[in-house]
């Protein structure tokens, strides 16, 4: 019975992330538009876009290969798999043992690997620009993220995200320097990974600094829908990750009663709203940086992560 309940929770979480992801993207866009004193599209616009794209036919470049057509599905599947392992409203997910946080990061790495390949597939210069810059960003963002994972794993004594999240709720954690450093680094990585300002601009389409949009330039129809959905899922994943590790309040523990689950879900939606609002505020307040400044930005994140890990090697209580 308990297993069936756990399975239901896991299934609910998988559906929940899939359904909430476009909403979060729409919410961020709306808040940003309001900050700019524009009306902005309705919050549900991303859903409409997805449906419209799904119904359209795909216009495929003449020399696109099978890899180009398979990639959107692969990216969607890996991102969804990663996303369904991040605790949202309840820790102790049924499948959390199948991939720990290192594996989740690596799953996102797989998605990026194939997306970068797809950018090169058609053989256009824009695709190449995007892929080349994406791997440059990833080559620093990924190690920075792994250093953050090291920090958290050393504090929690586990690399399993559910265990980590459970530990973060417990009173043993306390305030730590290393956690603060890790949080700053994680936010920097999350901004870079999700192609947000100041690293990349999700709203541009014809600008030399574009990275993500340049890679997916040749995609259309259902392929583009899947890629957009994956991007939204990834944003949701990072917000959930930061929420479950650094703001774990309200998250239901494994074996909690249904009321606790309801509180967890409400808290989760509240955290998403706060996260989305802060992201929009940050993006409005800051200017896009030059693309060759990005390594410095991410290098700082890597150094912060390394520093946090070093502190923990020196003393477990820092």
């Amino acid at each position: 019975m308990a297993v069936i309940f756990d399975l239901a929770v896991q299934g609910a979480q998988m559906l929940l992330v899939l359904l909430l992801a476009p909403l979060l993207t729409g919410f961020v866009r709306k808040v940003k538009a309001r900050f700019l004193r524009r009306q902005g599209p309705p919050v549900i616009q991303p859903y409409r876009d997805l449906v419209r794209l799904l119904r359209k036919e795909v216009v495929l470049a003449e020399n696109a290969s099978w890899l180009f057509r398979v990639t959107p599905y692969l990216i969607f599947a890996t991102t969804w798999a990663a996303c369904s392992l991040v605790p949202t409203f309840r820790t102790g997910l049924l499948f959390s043992w199948s991939a720990d946080l290192i594996a989740i990061i690596a799953l996102l790495g797989s998605a990026r690997f194939f997306l970068a390949l797809a950018g090169l597939d058609v053989g256009t210069s824009f695709g190449g620009v995007g892929s080349s810059r994406e791997v440059m960003i990833a080559s620093l963002a990924e190690p920075a993220m792994l250093m953050i994972v090291f920090t958290l794993a050393l504090i929690a004594g586990s690399t399993q995200l559910s265990t980590m999240a459970g530990f973060m709720i417990s009173p043993e954690v306390g305030l730590r320097v290393s956690l603060g450093l890790a949080l700053i680094a994680m936010i920097m990585v999350a901004i870079a990974e999700n192609a947000r300002i100041p690293v990349d601009n999700p709203a541009t389409h014809l600008e030399l600094t574009m990275v993500h949009e340049a890679m997916v330039l040749e995609y259309s129809g259902r392929h583009l829908a899947l890629i957009d959905l994956s991007a939204a899922l990834k944003l949701l994943l990072y917000v959930s990750l930061i929420a479950c590790l650094f703001a774990p309040w309200g998250t239901a523990a494994p074996g909690a009663a249904p009321q606790a689950l309801a509180i967890g879900a409400a808290a989760y939606i509240g955290k998403l709203a706060v996260g989305g609002f802060l992201l929009a505020l940050f993006e409005t307040a800051i200017a896009k940086m030059q693309v060759f400044r990005v390594p410095e930005f991410l290098g700082a994140a890597l150094m912060l992560g390394l520093l946090a890990t070093l502190l923990l090697f020196v003393s477990r209580s820092l």
Partner: protein
């Protein structure tokens, strides 16, 4: 067991003269590679039986060869069995590949006789149980591979590659010779059993460690001893490149493990510092070098350097844990390193096979002349993609598992009491993470420029899919990449006897864990299930495809590429290998390679094209090798005068030497 292995090796060595005797090239090719395939497979079975068989006792054999008072000792214990399996798995696949690939060999008589000898040499090294046999086999392996590197000696650069290889190999063997000399002691107990029994003093052991690092490290490609590797590996025919990069470097790792973990006795804590620093530097430098290449085979060779670094990080951690008696953690780190040995031998061989297939199909190794091969060679493109994903440590393939285990070992290391290690290990962890991320960038570049996009030359446009033998060898290894990735528990269990014999403990038994997960330490700490990840990705991807095609739209139209409305017909407008790596060259290369870019734009009215010149320097070569080479030629120039002395001067020199020697003897206590 050991005797059985030696019989197989005798068959391999006998193939060398047989190859010459057959005479007819096509028949010789089939016979030589066929027999090599059979012998390697037999050796693989022997090795696996020894490794997985229940009897833990090593099997020994002594032949009346070599030094008359010593004989040639051979021993097949868990460590030898594991490396014998790695060597012969690679050997079998390379032989299968070569049956098809060798058809287009231009100089078959420079390859066929040496190939079986090379295979036999590598197996002999891992079986040797005394210093003399080890060194002779090591040199036999080096020289036979040198002959293979020189197979196409008329091509530019190959002669230089062969020369550098020969110098570095001799230097490495010299270091090993000295190391074994120190280990054997004044009584000359050259059998490994005698060496194991005697414990060298601390100073002597440190010297042996350094010599082993130089000797084995130069063969494996540790920075800064790696310079020969990217020259020599690509110069050989591709199936030999696969063996040299995928397998021979592992034999070097074996040499290091055998000396340091087995023969040298209990380690000091600071040994691991040396190994970790070298491993971390090698991993990052190797992948940065690889990223800067545009020759496909050279890129792969440089990337081998990176993986050797990852393996040495695992070994260094194991040494640190072993020094402090943390046997469980040592077993984890050692298993991670050895699993990466296995994994790397699989995917690097696969990638070299793919590069060989591309070379055969197009006659090109330079990525800037390739492109679009996914349309012309779909099967090669598919298996090469699997290899690229595996080497980039992407789940659910095998490369990820060994790196994941290494990360788990790093996470155990705060328990190490030494302060030096406390500071070093996180930094090494960061280097490892950095090299993993850069590896993915490197293989996006390698695959994207070679196989994707539009063909850049007519040769790439006319490429044809390669033959069935080559393809089947690649498919076998691609399948192994997936299998070792989704059920890694069985492979970890197979390594348990090796860890048990070297560090006195082994990782928990994995095959019994539910759902074929791997749990290296404890359930609540970390676990990974490649099978489930694979199934989830496969099923949700297919589900999404099915749902979208049924419920939404499955219409598709081909049209010209959009490219933001800038259609251009020329494939030269695509990103090239160099331009792809430009951001990384700009980010890392300015420090590591002293990279400089110069843009030259002619003034208006001048019709010359604008030029961008990028200059990279190999600082290791500039600072380490160039001074040494300069010093040698300076000394040679000075000593040259000795050739032109008169007979009186010669006689007085001889007399002076005699007097000095007698004086030394008289003064010597």
């Amino acid at each position: 067991m050991a005797l059985l292995a030696i019989i197989c090796l005798a068959v391999l060595i006998a193939m060398a003269p047989v190859a010459i005797a057959i005479g007819d090239f096509s028949r010789a090719r089939h016979v030589v590679y066929g027999v090599c395939l059979a012998a390697s497979f037999a050796l693989l079975v022997v090795a696996l039986t020894a490794l997985l068989g229940s009897s833990g006792a090593p099997s020994v054999a002594t032949l009346p060869l070599g030094l008359p008072w010593l004989g040639a000792h051979f021993r097949l214990d868990a460590l030898s069995a594991f490396f014998l399996a790695v060597v012969n798995l690679g050997g079998a696949a390379a032989s299968l590949f070569a049956i098809g690939y060798g058809r287009q060999e231009r100089a078959p008589w420079r390859v066929l006789p040496f190939y079986p000898a090379f295979l036999a040499g590598m197996s002999l090294v891992v079986l040797a149980d005394d210093a003399f046999t080890f060194l002779v086999s090591w040199e036999f392996m080096s020289l036979s591979s040198w002959a293979l590197v020189m197979a196409h000696h008329r091509e530019s650069d190959n002669a230089h590659a062969g020369y550098v290889y020969l110098v570095m190999a001799s230097f490495g063997t010299l270091a090993l010779l000295l190391a074994f000399g120190m280990l054997a002691g004044p009584d000359g107990g050259y059998a490994f059993a005698d060496i194991r029994a005697g414990h060298p003093s601390a100073g002597l052991a440190a010297l042996v460690l350094v010599l082993a690092l130089i000797g084995a490290g130069s063969k494996a490609g540790l920075v800064p001893l790696h310079v020969w590797l990217p020259l020599a590996h690509p110069a050989a025919p591709s199936h030999v490149s696969a063996l040299m990069s995928g397998v021979m470097t592992k034999v070097a790792v074996y040499g290091f493990v055998r000396i340091v973990f087995d023969l040298l006795g209990p380690p000091e804590w600071w040994w691991s510092m040396v190994v970790l620093v070298l491993g971390g530097a090698t991993a990052v430098m190797g992948v940065l070098y690889a990223l800067m290449q545009h020759d496909l085979k050279r890129l792969l060779a440089y990337h081998t350097v990176e993986n050797i670094g990852i393996i040495f990080i695992g070994l260094g951690l194991a040494l640190a844990f072993k020094a402090y008696g943390m046997e469980f953690a040592a077993a984890l780190a050692l298993t991670a390193g050895l699993l990466h040995v296995f994994n790397h031998s699989i995917f690097k061989s696969l990638l070299f096979f793919g590069a060989g297939a591309v070379l055969n199909a197009t006659g090109e190794r330079d990525m800037e002349h390739l492109g679009g091969l996914i349309h012309r060679m779909p099967q090669t493109a598919f298996v090469f993609l699997v290899g690229c994903a595996a080497i980039s440590a992407l789940p659910p393939l095998n490369g990820f598992v060994s790196e994941w285990l290494t990360f788990q070992a790093i996470l155990l290391s705060p328990q190490l009491p030494s302060w030096g290690l406390k500071f070093l290990v996180p930094a090494v962890g960061a280097l490892l993470a950095l090299s993993a991320a850069l590896a993915a960038a490197c293989f996006v570049k390698a695959y994207g420029v070679t196989f994707l996009g539009r063909p850049r030359t007519p040769a790439a446009e006319r490429a044809q899919e390669v033959d069935q033998f080559s393809l089947s060898a690649m498919y076998v290894f691609a399948a192994l990449c997936l299998i070792a990735g989704i059920v890694p528990g069985f492979f970890i269990d197979a390594l348990a006897p090796v860890a048990q014999s070297l560090v006195g403990n082994s990782m928990p038994f994995q095959a019994g864990v539910e759902w074929l997960s791997i749990v290296p330490i404890a359930e609540g700490r970390s676990s990974y299930n490649g099978l489930l990840v694979f199934l989830f990705i496969a099923s949700s991807g297919m589900l999404a495809a099915f749902a979208i095609h049924r419920l939404a739209s499955d219409k598709l139209r081909r049209g010209p590429a959009w490219d933001c409305g800038y259609p251009d017909a020329s494939p030269a407008m695509q990103y090239t290998a160099d331009s792809f790596a430009q951001p990384i060259r700009r980010g890392f290369g300015t420090i590591v390679f002293a990279a400089r870019e110069q843009v030259e734009i002619p003034p208006p009215g001048d019709l010359r094209p604008a030029r961008l010149t990028a200059e990279l320097r190999d600082l290791v070569w500039d600072w380490l090798y160039a001074p040494v080479a300069g010093g040698v030629s300076f000394a040679a120039d000075r000593l040259n005068r000795l050739q032109f002395l008169t007979i009186r001067q010669f006689l007085s020199l001889v007399f002076a030497a005699l007097v000095i020697l007698l004086l030394v003897l008289a003064i010597w206590p």
